[in-house]
Protein backbone atom coordinates (compact mmCIF):
# COMPACT_ATOMS: atom_id res chain seq x y z
CA UNK A 1 0.00 0.00 0.00
CA UNK A 2 2.76 2.43 1.00
CA UNK A 3 4.72 1.53 -2.05
CA UNK A 4 1.74 2.10 -4.25
CA UNK A 5 1.23 5.46 -2.60
CA UNK A 6 4.87 6.42 -3.12
CA UNK A 7 4.63 5.55 -6.77
CA UNK A 8 1.18 6.82 -7.74
CA UNK A 9 0.04 8.92 -4.79
CA UNK A 10 0.85 12.31 -6.26
CA UNK A 11 -0.43 11.43 -9.69
CA UNK A 12 -3.74 10.16 -8.30
CA UNK A 13 -4.19 13.20 -6.07
CA UNK A 14 -3.46 15.61 -8.91
CA UNK A 15 -5.78 13.75 -11.28
CA UNK A 16 -8.63 13.80 -8.78
CA UNK A 17 -7.93 17.45 -8.03
CA UNK A 18 -7.93 18.46 -11.71
CA UNK A 19 -11.12 16.56 -12.45
CA UNK A 20 -12.95 17.87 -9.39
CA UNK A 21 -12.01 21.47 -10.13
CA UNK A 22 -13.22 21.05 -13.71
CA UNK A 23 -16.42 19.40 -12.43
CA UNK A 24 -16.95 22.27 -10.00
CA UNK A 25 -16.52 24.77 -12.86
CA UNK A 26 -19.05 22.87 -14.88
CA UNK A 27 -21.56 22.74 -12.02
CA UNK A 28 -21.24 26.50 -11.48
CA UNK A 29 -21.54 27.08 -15.26
CA UNK A 30 -18.03 28.64 -15.26
CA UNK A 31 -19.18 31.59 -13.16
CA UNK A 32 -15.59 32.13 -12.01
CA UNK A 33 -14.29 32.25 -15.59
CA UNK A 34 -17.06 34.57 -16.76
CA UNK A 35 -16.39 36.95 -13.87
CA UNK A 36 -12.61 36.94 -14.47
CA UNK A 37 -13.26 37.50 -18.15
CA UNK A 38 -15.44 40.51 -17.35
CA UNK A 39 -12.81 42.14 -15.14
CA UNK A 40 -10.01 41.45 -17.62
CA UNK A 41 -11.92 42.66 -20.66
CA UNK A 42 -13.69 45.71 -19.27
CA UNK A 43 -10.59 47.99 -19.06
CA UNK A 44 -9.86 47.35 -22.74
CA UNK A 45 -13.22 48.50 -23.98
CA UNK A 46 -12.57 51.87 -25.52
CA UNK A 47 -14.48 54.28 -23.31
CA UNK A 48 -14.77 56.96 -26.00
CA UNK A 49 -16.28 54.52 -28.44
CA UNK A 50 -18.56 53.22 -25.73
CA UNK A 51 -19.75 56.69 -24.81
CA UNK A 52 -20.49 57.51 -28.43
CA UNK A 53 -22.16 54.17 -28.95
CA UNK A 54 -24.08 54.65 -25.77
CA UNK A 55 -25.27 58.09 -26.80
CA UNK A 56 -26.36 56.89 -30.22
CA UNK A 57 -28.05 53.84 -28.81
CA UNK A 58 -29.63 55.85 -26.06
CA UNK A 59 -30.96 58.39 -28.51
CA UNK A 60 -32.52 55.68 -30.61
CA UNK A 61 -33.82 53.90 -27.53
CA UNK A 62 -35.20 57.18 -26.22
CA UNK A 63 -37.00 57.77 -29.46
CA UNK A 64 -38.43 54.26 -29.43
CA UNK A 65 -39.25 54.45 -25.76
CA UNK A 66 -41.09 57.69 -26.24
CA UNK A 67 -43.05 56.22 -29.09
CA UNK A 68 -43.65 53.12 -27.05
CA UNK A 69 -44.77 55.26 -24.13
CA UNK A 70 -47.17 57.09 -26.34
CA UNK A 71 -48.58 53.87 -27.72
CA UNK A 72 -48.63 52.34 -24.26
CA UNK A 73 -50.55 55.31 -22.95
CA UNK A 74 -53.08 54.90 -25.71
CA UNK A 75 -53.18 51.18 -25.14
CA UNK A 76 -53.62 51.71 -21.42
CA UNK A 77 -56.53 53.97 -22.00
CA UNK A 78 -58.12 51.49 -24.36
CA UNK A 79 -57.54 48.71 -21.89
CA UNK A 80 -58.99 50.76 -19.09
CA UNK A 81 -61.96 51.32 -21.29
CA UNK A 82 -62.21 47.58 -21.66
CA UNK A 83 -61.68 47.14 -17.92
CA UNK A 84 -58.44 45.26 -18.55
CA UNK A 85 -55.90 44.90 -15.76
CA UNK A 86 -52.30 44.83 -17.00
CA UNK A 87 -49.20 44.17 -14.98
CA UNK A 88 -47.01 47.19 -14.20
CA UNK A 89 -44.11 47.26 -16.69
CA UNK A 90 -40.56 47.23 -15.32
CA UNK A 91 -37.72 49.28 -16.77
CA UNK A 92 -35.25 47.98 -19.37
CA UNK A 93 -31.48 47.45 -18.86
CA UNK A 94 -28.90 48.45 -21.47
CA UNK A 95 -25.92 46.07 -21.67
CA UNK A 96 -22.76 45.79 -23.81
CA UNK A 97 -21.93 42.59 -25.67
CA UNK A 98 -18.59 41.50 -24.23
CA UNK A 99 -18.21 38.00 -25.66
CA UNK A 100 -19.47 35.71 -28.39
CA UNK A 101 -20.19 31.99 -28.48
CA UNK A 102 -17.40 29.69 -27.31
CA UNK A 103 -17.82 27.01 -29.96
CA UNK A 104 -19.19 26.60 -33.45
CA UNK A 105 -22.38 24.81 -32.43
CA UNK A 106 -24.00 27.53 -30.39
CA UNK A 107 -25.03 31.08 -31.15
CA UNK A 108 -24.70 32.75 -27.80
CA UNK A 109 -23.50 36.13 -26.58
CA UNK A 110 -22.06 37.19 -23.23
CA UNK A 111 -23.39 40.49 -21.90
CA UNK A 112 -21.67 42.86 -19.48
CA UNK A 113 -24.56 43.14 -17.03
CA UNK A 114 -25.54 40.53 -14.48
CA UNK A 115 -27.65 39.87 -11.43
CA UNK A 116 -26.17 42.95 -9.68
CA UNK A 117 -27.86 45.08 -12.34
CA UNK A 118 -31.12 43.24 -12.00
CA UNK A 119 -30.78 40.78 -14.89
CA UNK A 120 -32.41 37.40 -14.35
CA UNK A 121 -32.89 34.18 -16.31
CA UNK A 122 -35.62 34.34 -18.91
CA UNK A 123 -35.34 38.08 -19.58
CA UNK A 124 -35.67 39.08 -23.24
CA UNK A 125 -32.74 40.59 -25.17
CA UNK A 126 -33.56 43.18 -27.82
CA UNK A 127 -31.29 44.79 -30.39
CA UNK A 128 -32.04 47.77 -32.59
CA UNK A 129 -34.70 46.36 -34.88
CA UNK A 130 -36.22 43.62 -32.79
CA UNK A 131 -35.79 40.69 -30.48
CA UNK A 132 -32.50 38.74 -30.61
CA UNK A 133 -32.68 36.20 -27.77
CA UNK A 134 -33.21 35.45 -24.11
CA UNK A 135 -31.02 35.20 -21.02
CA UNK A 136 -30.10 31.62 -20.11
CA UNK A 137 -27.46 32.13 -17.44
CA UNK A 138 -26.54 34.94 -15.04
CA UNK A 139 -23.44 35.66 -12.94
CA UNK A 140 -23.03 38.77 -10.72
CA UNK A 141 -21.53 40.89 -13.53
CA UNK A 142 -22.24 38.99 -16.75
CA UNK A 143 -25.06 37.10 -18.36
CA UNK A 144 -25.29 34.72 -21.29
CA UNK A 145 -28.01 34.91 -23.91
CA UNK A 146 -29.16 32.24 -26.36
CA UNK A 147 -29.87 33.94 -29.68
CA UNK A 148 -32.90 33.30 -31.84
CA UNK A 149 -30.45 32.57 -34.65
CA UNK A 150 -29.27 29.46 -32.77
CA UNK A 151 -30.42 26.23 -34.45
CA UNK A 152 -31.51 24.88 -31.05
CA UNK A 153 -33.70 27.82 -30.21
CA UNK A 154 -37.40 27.64 -31.09
CA UNK A 155 -39.55 30.73 -30.94
CA UNK A 156 -43.30 30.73 -31.46
CA UNK A 157 -43.97 33.23 -34.24
CA UNK A 158 -46.81 34.58 -36.32
CA UNK A 159 -47.18 36.25 -39.75
CA UNK A 160 -48.44 39.74 -38.87
CA UNK A 161 -50.56 40.18 -41.99
CA UNK A 162 -52.48 36.92 -41.87
CA UNK A 163 -51.91 35.71 -38.26
CA UNK A 164 -50.71 32.28 -39.43
CA UNK A 165 -48.79 30.67 -36.54
CA UNK A 166 -45.57 28.66 -36.65
CA UNK A 167 -42.20 28.50 -34.99
CA UNK A 168 -38.81 29.89 -35.90
CA UNK A 169 -35.59 27.88 -35.83
CA UNK A 170 -32.23 29.57 -36.29
CA UNK A 171 -30.24 28.75 -39.41
CA UNK A 172 -27.18 30.95 -39.35
CA UNK A 173 -26.27 34.27 -37.82
CA UNK A 174 -28.58 36.28 -40.06
CA UNK A 175 -31.34 33.96 -41.20
CA UNK A 176 -33.89 31.66 -39.60
CA UNK A 177 -36.42 29.15 -40.88
CA UNK A 178 -40.09 29.44 -39.99
CA UNK A 179 -42.00 26.16 -39.84
CA UNK A 180 -45.78 26.49 -40.14
CA UNK A 181 -48.34 24.32 -38.40
CA UNK A 182 -50.88 24.09 -41.22
CA UNK A 183 -50.57 23.02 -44.84
CA UNK A 184 -52.38 25.98 -46.35
CA UNK A 185 -50.60 29.16 -45.41
CA UNK A 186 -51.04 32.65 -46.75
CA UNK A 187 -47.51 34.02 -46.64
CA UNK A 188 -45.30 35.73 -49.20
CA UNK A 189 -41.90 37.39 -49.40
CA UNK A 190 -41.81 40.70 -47.55
CA UNK A 191 -44.28 39.72 -44.81
CA UNK A 192 -43.16 40.69 -41.31
CA UNK A 193 -42.85 38.09 -38.58
CA UNK A 194 -43.37 38.76 -34.87
CA UNK A 195 -43.38 36.60 -31.75
CA UNK A 196 -46.71 34.93 -31.19
CA UNK A 197 -48.96 34.99 -28.15
CA UNK A 198 -48.61 31.20 -28.01
CA UNK A 199 -44.90 31.49 -27.16
CA UNK A 200 -44.03 30.50 -23.60
CA UNK A 201 -40.56 32.04 -23.54
CA UNK A 202 -41.14 35.36 -25.33
CA UNK A 203 -43.76 38.09 -24.93
CA UNK A 204 -46.12 38.47 -27.88
CA UNK A 205 -45.71 41.04 -30.64
CA UNK A 206 -41.91 41.56 -30.71
CA UNK A 207 -40.61 42.09 -34.26
CA UNK A 208 -38.28 39.30 -35.50
CA UNK A 209 -37.74 39.69 -39.24
CA UNK A 210 -39.03 39.60 -42.78
CA UNK A 211 -39.90 36.69 -45.05
CA UNK A 212 -37.22 36.26 -47.72
CA UNK A 213 -38.64 33.26 -49.56
CA UNK A 214 -41.26 30.57 -49.06
CA UNK A 215 -40.88 26.88 -49.87
CA UNK A 216 -44.38 25.46 -50.42
CA UNK A 217 -43.00 22.08 -51.60
CA UNK A 218 -41.68 21.24 -48.16
CA UNK A 219 -43.68 18.58 -46.30
CA UNK A 220 -45.60 18.26 -44.04
CA UNK A 221 -46.10 22.03 -43.93
CA UNK A 222 -44.52 24.93 -45.83
CA UNK A 223 -41.34 26.60 -44.64
CA UNK A 224 -40.32 30.21 -44.97
CA UNK A 225 -36.84 31.65 -44.83
CA UNK A 226 -36.73 34.67 -42.55
CA UNK A 227 -34.16 37.42 -42.65
CA UNK A 228 -33.66 38.66 -39.10
CA UNK A 229 -34.14 42.39 -38.54
CA UNK A 230 -31.17 42.83 -36.23
CA UNK A 231 -27.61 42.60 -37.62
CA UNK A 232 -26.51 40.50 -34.64
CA UNK A 233 -22.87 40.20 -35.77
CA UNK A 234 -22.45 43.99 -35.86
CA UNK A 235 -24.29 44.68 -32.64
CA UNK A 236 -22.38 46.01 -29.64
CA UNK A 237 -25.20 47.02 -27.34
CA UNK A 238 -28.47 45.39 -26.44
CA UNK A 239 -31.48 46.21 -24.31
CA UNK A 240 -32.57 43.62 -21.77
CA UNK A 241 -36.28 43.64 -21.15
CA UNK A 242 -37.63 42.09 -17.94
CA UNK A 243 -39.98 39.20 -18.60
CA UNK A 244 -41.21 36.21 -16.66
CA UNK A 245 -41.58 33.19 -18.94
CA UNK A 246 -44.83 31.26 -18.74
CA UNK A 247 -42.89 28.05 -18.11
CA UNK A 248 -40.31 27.47 -15.42
CA UNK A 249 -36.73 27.50 -16.73
CA UNK A 250 -34.18 25.08 -15.34
Amino acid sequence: MYRWWDKYGWKTTLTILALSVAWLLKQTQATAIAETYYFLVSPFQSQQQLLLENKLTNARILQLEQRLNELEQQNKQFKELLDYAAAQPRSAITAPIIGRSADIWWNQITLGKGSKDGVAKGFIVNGIGGVIGRIIQVTPHTSRALLISDPHSRVGAVVTRTRHPGFIQGKNSQTAVMHFFTQVVDVRAGDTITTSSLSYLYPAGLPIGQVKSVNFEKGPAPEAEIELNVPIDLLEWVVIQPFSPKVEIK
Binding site: A22, A102, D103, K171
Partner: protein, 195 residues
Protein backbone atom coordinates in the same frame (compact mmCIF):
# COMPACT_ATOMS: atom_id res chain seq x y z
CA UNK B 1 19.60 32.54 -19.99
CA UNK B 2 16.24 31.51 -18.61
CA UNK B 3 17.63 28.11 -17.82
CA UNK B 4 20.53 29.45 -15.80
CA UNK B 5 18.28 31.60 -13.66
CA UNK B 6 15.83 28.81 -13.12
CA UNK B 7 18.58 26.32 -12.26
CA UNK B 8 19.18 28.08 -8.98
CA UNK B 9 15.58 28.14 -7.80
CA UNK B 10 14.46 25.16 -5.75
CA UNK B 11 12.40 22.52 -7.54
CA UNK B 12 9.43 23.14 -5.28
CA UNK B 13 9.07 26.72 -6.53
CA UNK B 14 9.39 25.57 -10.11
CA UNK B 15 6.54 23.12 -9.59
CA UNK B 16 4.43 25.88 -8.11
CA UNK B 17 5.27 28.09 -11.09
CA UNK B 18 4.35 25.20 -13.38
CA UNK B 19 0.91 24.90 -11.77
CA UNK B 20 0.41 28.65 -12.15
CA UNK B 21 1.45 28.52 -15.81
CA UNK B 22 -0.90 25.61 -16.48
CA UNK B 23 -3.87 27.31 -14.80
CA UNK B 24 -3.02 30.68 -16.36
CA UNK B 25 -2.79 29.27 -19.86
CA UNK B 26 -6.13 27.46 -19.47
CA UNK B 27 -7.77 30.66 -18.23
CA UNK B 28 -6.25 32.55 -21.16
CA UNK B 29 -7.68 29.95 -23.53
CA UNK B 30 -11.15 30.33 -21.99
CA UNK B 31 -10.98 34.10 -22.38
CA UNK B 32 -9.74 33.92 -25.96
CA UNK B 33 -12.61 31.54 -26.70
CA UNK B 34 -15.16 34.25 -25.91
CA UNK B 35 -13.32 37.10 -27.65
CA UNK B 36 -13.64 37.95 -31.32
CA UNK B 37 -10.61 39.96 -32.38
CA UNK B 38 -9.69 40.87 -35.95
CA UNK B 39 -7.27 38.22 -37.23
CA UNK B 40 -8.44 35.81 -34.56
CA UNK B 41 -11.53 34.83 -36.52
CA UNK B 42 -12.29 33.32 -39.89
CA UNK B 43 -15.85 33.84 -41.16
CA UNK B 44 -17.05 34.46 -37.62
CA UNK B 45 -15.35 31.35 -36.25
CA UNK B 46 -12.54 31.69 -33.72
CA UNK B 47 -9.90 29.04 -32.92
CA UNK B 48 -10.89 26.19 -30.64
CA UNK B 49 -8.35 27.19 -27.98
CA UNK B 50 -9.22 24.49 -25.47
CA UNK B 51 -8.64 21.81 -28.09
CA UNK B 52 -5.28 23.39 -28.98
CA UNK B 53 -4.36 23.31 -25.28
CA UNK B 54 -5.24 19.62 -24.99
CA UNK B 55 -3.13 18.83 -28.07
CA UNK B 56 -0.16 20.88 -26.80
CA UNK B 57 -0.43 19.21 -23.40
CA UNK B 58 -0.73 15.61 -24.54
CA UNK B 59 1.69 15.69 -27.46
CA UNK B 60 4.65 14.77 -25.23
CA UNK B 61 2.81 13.06 -22.39
CA UNK B 62 1.28 9.70 -21.58
CA UNK B 63 -2.14 8.60 -22.84
CA UNK B 64 -3.52 8.68 -19.31
CA UNK B 65 -2.51 12.31 -18.69
CA UNK B 66 -3.85 13.31 -22.11
CA UNK B 67 -7.20 11.75 -21.28
CA UNK B 68 -7.40 13.49 -17.88
CA UNK B 69 -6.64 16.87 -19.46
CA UNK B 70 -9.25 16.19 -22.14
CA UNK B 71 -11.92 15.34 -19.57
CA UNK B 72 -11.12 18.38 -17.41
CA UNK B 73 -11.12 20.85 -20.30
CA UNK B 74 -14.21 19.16 -21.76
CA UNK B 75 -16.06 19.94 -18.53
CA UNK B 76 -14.89 23.56 -18.69
CA UNK B 77 -15.97 23.85 -22.32
CA UNK B 78 -19.38 22.46 -21.32
CA UNK B 79 -19.65 25.16 -18.69
CA UNK B 80 -18.85 27.87 -21.23
CA UNK B 81 -21.43 26.74 -23.80
CA UNK B 82 -23.95 24.06 -23.04
CA UNK B 83 -23.56 20.59 -21.49
CA UNK B 84 -25.93 18.97 -24.02
CA UNK B 85 -24.19 17.33 -25.80
CA UNK B 86 -21.03 17.20 -23.72
CA UNK B 87 -17.58 18.13 -25.02
CA UNK B 88 -15.94 15.68 -22.57
CA UNK B 89 -16.03 12.67 -24.89
CA UNK B 90 -14.48 14.42 -27.88
CA UNK B 91 -11.76 16.28 -25.96
CA UNK B 92 -10.81 13.15 -23.98
CA UNK B 93 -10.45 11.32 -27.29
CA UNK B 94 -8.26 14.15 -28.61
CA UNK B 95 -5.99 13.75 -25.56
CA UNK B 96 -5.78 9.99 -26.01
CA UNK B 97 -5.19 10.10 -29.77
CA UNK B 98 -2.60 12.87 -29.60
CA UNK B 99 -0.69 11.15 -26.80
CA UNK B 100 -0.64 7.83 -28.62
CA UNK B 101 0.61 9.26 -31.92
CA UNK B 102 4.19 8.25 -32.73
CA UNK B 103 5.96 11.55 -33.20
CA UNK B 104 9.59 10.61 -32.62
CA UNK B 105 10.12 10.08 -36.32
CA UNK B 106 9.42 13.66 -37.30
CA UNK B 107 10.39 15.48 -34.13
CA UNK B 108 12.24 18.13 -36.11
CA UNK B 109 9.21 19.75 -37.77
CA UNK B 110 7.40 20.45 -34.53
CA UNK B 111 5.27 23.39 -35.65
CA UNK B 112 3.93 21.83 -38.82
CA UNK B 113 3.16 18.59 -37.02
CA UNK B 114 1.28 20.45 -34.27
CA UNK B 115 -0.70 22.42 -36.84
CA UNK B 116 -1.56 19.22 -38.69
CA UNK B 117 -2.57 17.36 -35.54
CA UNK B 118 -4.80 20.26 -34.51
CA UNK B 119 -6.42 20.38 -37.96
CA UNK B 120 -7.25 16.67 -37.89
CA UNK B 121 -8.35 16.77 -34.24
CA UNK B 122 -10.79 19.65 -34.82
CA UNK B 123 -12.41 17.63 -37.58
CA UNK B 124 -12.52 14.53 -35.33
CA UNK B 125 -14.07 16.41 -32.37
CA UNK B 126 -16.63 18.28 -34.41
CA UNK B 127 -17.66 15.06 -36.17
CA UNK B 128 -18.16 13.41 -32.78
CA UNK B 129 -20.17 16.40 -31.58
CA UNK B 130 -22.24 16.29 -34.76
CA UNK B 131 -23.00 12.61 -34.10
CA UNK B 132 -23.90 13.42 -30.51
CA UNK B 133 -26.21 16.17 -31.75
CA UNK B 134 -27.93 13.89 -34.23
CA UNK B 135 -28.48 11.33 -31.46
CA UNK B 136 -29.83 13.74 -28.84
CA UNK B 137 -32.04 16.06 -30.86
CA UNK B 138 -35.46 14.98 -31.99
CA UNK B 139 -35.30 17.22 -35.02
CA UNK B 140 -31.95 16.55 -36.68
CA UNK B 141 -29.99 19.53 -37.93
CA UNK B 142 -30.82 18.60 -41.50
CA UNK B 143 -31.25 21.91 -43.23
CA UNK B 144 -28.13 23.38 -41.70
CA UNK B 145 -25.69 20.56 -42.36
CA UNK B 146 -23.89 22.51 -45.05
CA UNK B 147 -23.57 25.54 -42.80
CA UNK B 148 -21.87 23.40 -40.16
CA UNK B 149 -19.52 21.72 -42.64
CA UNK B 150 -18.39 25.17 -43.63
CA UNK B 151 -17.97 26.21 -40.00
CA UNK B 152 -16.04 23.05 -39.08
CA UNK B 153 -13.57 23.65 -41.90
CA UNK B 154 -13.09 27.31 -40.91
CA UNK B 155 -12.59 26.25 -37.30
CA UNK B 156 -10.01 23.61 -38.29
CA UNK B 157 -8.10 26.09 -40.46
CA UNK B 158 -8.00 28.95 -37.98
CA UNK B 159 -7.18 26.61 -35.07
CA UNK B 160 -4.23 25.05 -36.87
CA UNK B 161 -2.92 28.49 -37.83
CA UNK B 162 -2.97 29.68 -34.22
CA UNK B 163 -1.85 26.41 -32.58
CA UNK B 164 1.92 27.19 -32.67
CA UNK B 165 1.31 30.42 -30.73
CA UNK B 166 0.24 28.40 -27.72
CA UNK B 167 2.60 25.51 -28.40
CA UNK B 168 5.85 27.49 -28.62
CA UNK B 169 6.00 29.08 -25.14
CA UNK B 170 4.43 26.15 -23.30
CA UNK B 171 6.73 23.67 -25.01
CA UNK B 172 9.86 25.69 -24.17
CA UNK B 173 8.78 25.95 -20.55
CA UNK B 174 7.98 22.26 -20.15
CA UNK B 175 11.15 21.14 -21.91
CA UNK B 176 13.28 23.37 -19.67
CA UNK B 177 11.45 22.19 -16.60
CA UNK B 178 12.09 18.59 -17.56
CA UNK B 179 15.80 19.29 -18.14
CA UNK B 180 16.20 20.99 -14.78
CA UNK B 181 14.24 18.27 -13.06
CA UNK B 182 16.46 15.62 -14.59
CA UNK B 183 19.71 17.38 -13.72
CA UNK B 184 18.56 18.05 -10.16
CA UNK B 185 17.44 14.48 -9.51
CA UNK B 186 20.74 13.22 -10.97
CA UNK B 187 22.62 15.61 -8.74
CA UNK B 188 20.61 14.40 -5.74
CA UNK B 189 21.40 10.80 -6.54
CA UNK B 190 25.15 11.36 -6.88
CA UNK B 191 25.14 13.24 -3.60
CA UNK B 192 23.49 10.33 -1.86
CA UNK B 193 26.01 7.95 -3.44
CA UNK B 194 28.86 10.19 -2.38
CA UNK B 195 27.74 10.01 1.22
Amino acid sequence: MLEINLNKTPLRWLYLLNVLIILGSILLCCILLLLRLPGLELFGVSPNWLLIWVVVWSVKRSVWRGAVAGIALGLIHDALTSPHPSHVLSLALVGILTASLRKQRYAREDFIIIALIVFVMVIVTETILALQFSLTFINPLENIRQYYQYRILSSATISSIWAPVLYYPLNIWWENLQKIERSKTKLGKTKIKGK
